[in-house]
């Protein structure tokens, strides 16, 4: 047996090699773009050239199939309806695009949203072969423009953008378009961000009732409630086991209504941590302004009094969620969408009753929030692609069916199938759309009107309709005295309770002035950020006094902060 190791090995290897070459043969690259359409574009010359018509109008389909390659972002496990032979290039989405516009995608690459996708993009750029359409971040967008690798979309947008698309951009004062415009030329179709809305304090209402606590208004009220939660142990966790306010140690401020931060405590004193804001006609970095100290004082006092998790420094995001879900923690700041993070606590405990408060309000009775980056990503078209308007036209379709009402008016099989795909989250939409800036508020308006019988449930976008059904199921269950399904509980609390609060509560909004990068940032910023995170966590955990903040600002300025501030101001001129 021993002498044959080598021989066996060769045999195995050869066999496998053969098998695999068969196997990979079919998956081999076939990414040459066949631009069938381009060749024939001159041939048709009647009164109205159909190619010209397709090129210049929002909805006119192409006379012949137009292909485009795409760098596709996928986000999770991609599934198709059971038993179908659909794939990334032939599915409910692509068939709708094909049907409406006669366009067909070929995937140049697919990768998970985020680092992996950016990696693929940058490799594609390196080799000089970028797909016809892809999504990039702001940094890459600028790099592509600088090196003349993408198409100017000004005309395509002018000719082909639907009214709905324009309306959606207008919902955030066209800030999205402005960011994608360079030298008066529009280089991308920006994917908008939805406003996160105000940050809310979420408290366990069942605990408050048990302890006879009234709703908080001021910082003192909040402190009192935290004190009662921690000392009286309303959740029966055992003495000393209940923690007060949940905070994310990595960064406990500066996000846009993210979970486990405490922005409201800072904005109450006029600070805007982590944002570039305008102050005395100059852009300044919010985290190093003196207003920060008061907020830090409050939080570090709370830590000293045991009102913030003593182990806050070593918690990770999932750990905090675990504390909240298991009922060890009954207080956190988060946006209207908090129920998504709180669903498990409801599943585990029927009596959980989370209540949201927009506190602490300033002297004008309002809480102050800062607005986020208007855009998430930028969809761009490769320089030299013959039909750059394909992107705009395809986005039109996506918006019509998701943000418009086409999904109700169009009763064709293709549209039905498309709906099925959207509702079951099958496959991945190669193009996709984006939403109104105030989408969450709008959703509340529509759903609540429908529940009150004032609106036809079909007069709202598809996603809202799904939420409306779920909210109704929740109300039915409550009426019957049954425990509502956790998904329905989630949707009702997020869409009808906290969204209502967000919708009804006036708020001061500060617009940060700068979301870009300056030349020194790539190398210096991480040092400054490290310094900031380290200092802030040390102040919070009382390892350094609040006065240390001044030393930090000094060090921050010297380590490059001053220069970057100057660059930001230069960039804004």
């Amino acid at each position: 047996m021993k002498r044959n190791i080598f021989k066996k090995f060769i045999v195995i290897t050869t066999t496998i090699c053969l098998t695999v070459s068969l196997f990979t043969g079919c998956s081999n690259k076939k990414d040459d773009t066949k631009d069938v359409a381009g060749k024939n574009s001159v041939s048709e010359s009647k009164s109205k050239d159909p190619w010209e018509l397709a090129r210049t109008t929002p909805y006119e389909p192409y006379p012949e199939e137009v292909q485009y390659t795409i760098g596709m972002q996928v986000n999770a496990s991609v599934a198709y309806p059971k038993g179908s032979s659909d794939n990334a290039e032939n599915n409910g989405y692509t068939r709708l695009y094909k049907n409406k516009l006669n366009i067909q995608n070929k995937n140049a690459f697919e990768a998970v949203d985020g680092d992996d996708y950016n990696q693929k993009v940058s490799m594609a750029i390196t080799t000089g072969k970028i797909p016809d359409i892809m999504s990039v971040d702001y940094k890459t967008l600028k790099e592509l423009i600088e090196n003349d690798m993408i198409e100017d979309l000004t005309d395509s947008y002018k000719n082909c953008a639907s009214d709905l698309m324009k309306k959606i951009y207008a919902s955030n004062d066209n800030k999205s378009l402005k960011m994608a415009t360079f030298d008066k030329k529009l280089y991308a179709i920006p994917v908008t961000s939805i406003s996160a809305g105000q940050e809310m304090l979420w408290l366990r209402g069942d605990w408050m009732d048990k302890l006879n606590l009234k709703e908080p208004k001021t910082i003192e009220d909040i402190e009192h409630i935290l004190q009662e939660f921690v000392t009286k142990d309303p959740g029966n966790n055992g003495a000393g086991k209940t923690i007060g306010l949940a905070l994310n140690p990595d960064i406990y401020y500066g996000g846009y209504a993210q979970a486990y931060q405490a922005n409201n405590i800072f904005t109450y004193f006029g600070a805007c941590p982590k944002q570039w804001i305008e102050k005395d006609n100059k852009a300044v970095y919010g985290s190093v302004q003196p207003e920060m100290k008061q907020g830090l004082q409050v939080l570090s006092d709370w830590y000293k009094k045991g009102l913030i998790d003593p182990q806050v420094a070593i918690r990770k995001y999932d750990d905090i969620t675990a504390l909240v879900s298991s009922g060890q923690c009954g207080a956190l700041f988060c946006g209207w969408w908090a129920p998504y993070a709180l669903e498990s606590s409801y599943t585990l405990n029927n009596n959980v009753d989370w209540r949201a408060y927009i506190v602490p309000a300033g002297s004008d009775g309002k809480v102050t929030m800062f607005a986020g980056n208007p855009n998430q990503m930028y969809k761009v078209v490769r320089k030299g692609y013959k039909h750059p308007e394909v992107l705009v036209k395809a986005v039109n379709i996506s918006l019509d069916y998701n943000q418009g009402t086409s999904s109700y008016t169009d009763t064709s099989d293709i549209a039905k199938e498309y709906l099925d795909y959207v509702n079951h989250a099958y496959g991945v939409d190669p193009i996709g759309g984006f939403d109104y800036y105030n989408a969450a508020s709008l959703a509340y308006e529509h759903i609540s009107e429908a529940i009150d019988g004032k609106r036809d449930p079909k007069d709202m976008i598809m996603y809202e309709n799904t939420l409306y059904q779920s909210c109704k199921k929740y109300l039915d269950a409550v009426k019957k005295g049954k425990k509502a399904d956790s998904t329905d509980w989630l949707n009702y609390n997020a869409r009808m309770v906290s969204s209502k609060l967000m919708h009804d509560t006036p708020v001061n909004i500060i617009q940060p002035v700068f979301f870009d990068q300056t030349p020194s940032m790539p190398l210096m910023w991480s040092t400054l950020e490290k310094m900031e995170k380290e200092t802030m966590l040390k102040i919070l955990t009382n390892e350094k006094s609040v006065d240390y903040f001044d030393t930090f600002v000094d060090k921050w300025m010297k380590a490059g902060g001053e220069q970057i501030t100057k660059e930001v101001n230069d960039a804004l001129k």
């Binding site: 790099e143 790539p522 490290k530 380290e534």
Partner: protein, 296 residues
């Protein structure tokens, strides 16, 4: 067989592997020039701007570069040392066991943590060292007040070193177990006839038997002197322990978050390679001077 024909055979055997190395290792080495550029993907390697030694200067001029290098070396060195001692000792202990089923089961179990990623293990480690974890429970029974291990600059590095060794020792011991089977049983027989006890057999037969492999494994681990283990630190550190736990790789990662820093990463890689090469050459020299063995 004729001497020169034998040479021909040897060359022929080297050939396929060398071709593969040439294509996938040597050709891509032209990319090292990126370390001297401000590489921008859209411009490519041939058109990006030359910045000479700027990337290297940057590495040594950031305010905390000294701290970061010290952290990296301490953690990496600790892991290297324990990464030899524990697997070797474990293999020796296991070698003393004669119950085959027990031995195999143990081997298989201890090798498993290697396959759990740090994302998963971080949760476990964090629990073990938390206020309500077993370690603090043990301390409190001795009336020692709880320690926040993962938030302490004194404890962070030892914990990183220990937990990494815990994760990897089983996997690391495989090679020594393989080496132990290579020791001629005749030697043991002769020794027991001479009346050598267990300890003597260990010192005079077993350890010398696997010493070559220990030496080679140690030497090969030397280039890791600047690799302190990104995944582990990244999943376990927090801003409080930046001072003792921020390493080169986590730092570069955070720089890269703002913009992919291919040039910086290449420059760091080059530094690591050069230091690794120096260390390996030195170790080889030492081994050849003090013993009659050649490692390479």
């Amino acid at each position: 067989m004729h001497k020169s024909r034998k040479q021909l055979y040897y060359h022929a055997m080297m050939f396929p592997g060398m071709v593969c190395l040439f294509i996938f290792s040597f050709v891509p080495m032209f990319g090292i020039i990126m370390a001297f550029q401000n590489y921008i993907p859209a411009k490519g390697i041939f058109k990006s701007r030359w910045v000479n030694w700027d990337n290297f200067k940057f590495i040594f001029t950031i305010p905390d570069s000294k701290q970061i290098f010290i952290n990296t070396i301490i953690i990496a060195l600790g892991k290297m040392i324990l990464g030899i001692i524990i697997p070797v000792s474990f293999a020796l202990l296991l070698n003393e066991i004669r119950k085959k089923v027990f031995k195999k089961t143990v081997q298989t179990i201890v090798y498993l943590p290697h396959f759990l990623s740090w994302v998963v293990l971080a949760t476990v480690v964090q629990y073990i060292f938390s206020y309500d974890g077993p370690i603090n429970a043990m301390l409190s029974s001795f009336h020692i007040s709880p320690i926040m291990f993962m938030g302490s600059n004194k404890w962070f590095r030892p914990i990183m070193i220990l937990t990494e060794s815990w994760k990897e020792f089983g996997y690391g011991s495989i090679i020594y177990l393989a080496a132990l089977t290579g020791i001629d049983p005749g030697l043991y027989e002769a020794a027991s006839i001479d009346g050598a006890n267990r300890w003597k057999r260990l010192i005079h037969i077993t350890i010398p038997g696997i010493l070559p492999i220990i030496l080679i494994m140690t030497t090969m681990s030397l280039p890791n002197i600047l690799n302190a283990g990104f995944d582990q630190i990244f999943n376990l550190y927090n801003p409080l322990v930046y001072q003792s736990g921020d390493i080169i790789d986590t730092y570069v990662y955070r720089v890269g978050m703002l913009q992919r820093q291919y040039s910086l990463a290449t420059a760091i890689g080059l530094i690591k390679s050069v230091i690794g090469a120096i260390l390996i050459a030195t170790a080889n020299k030492l081994v050849t001077t003090f013993s009659d063995r050649t490692m390479f």
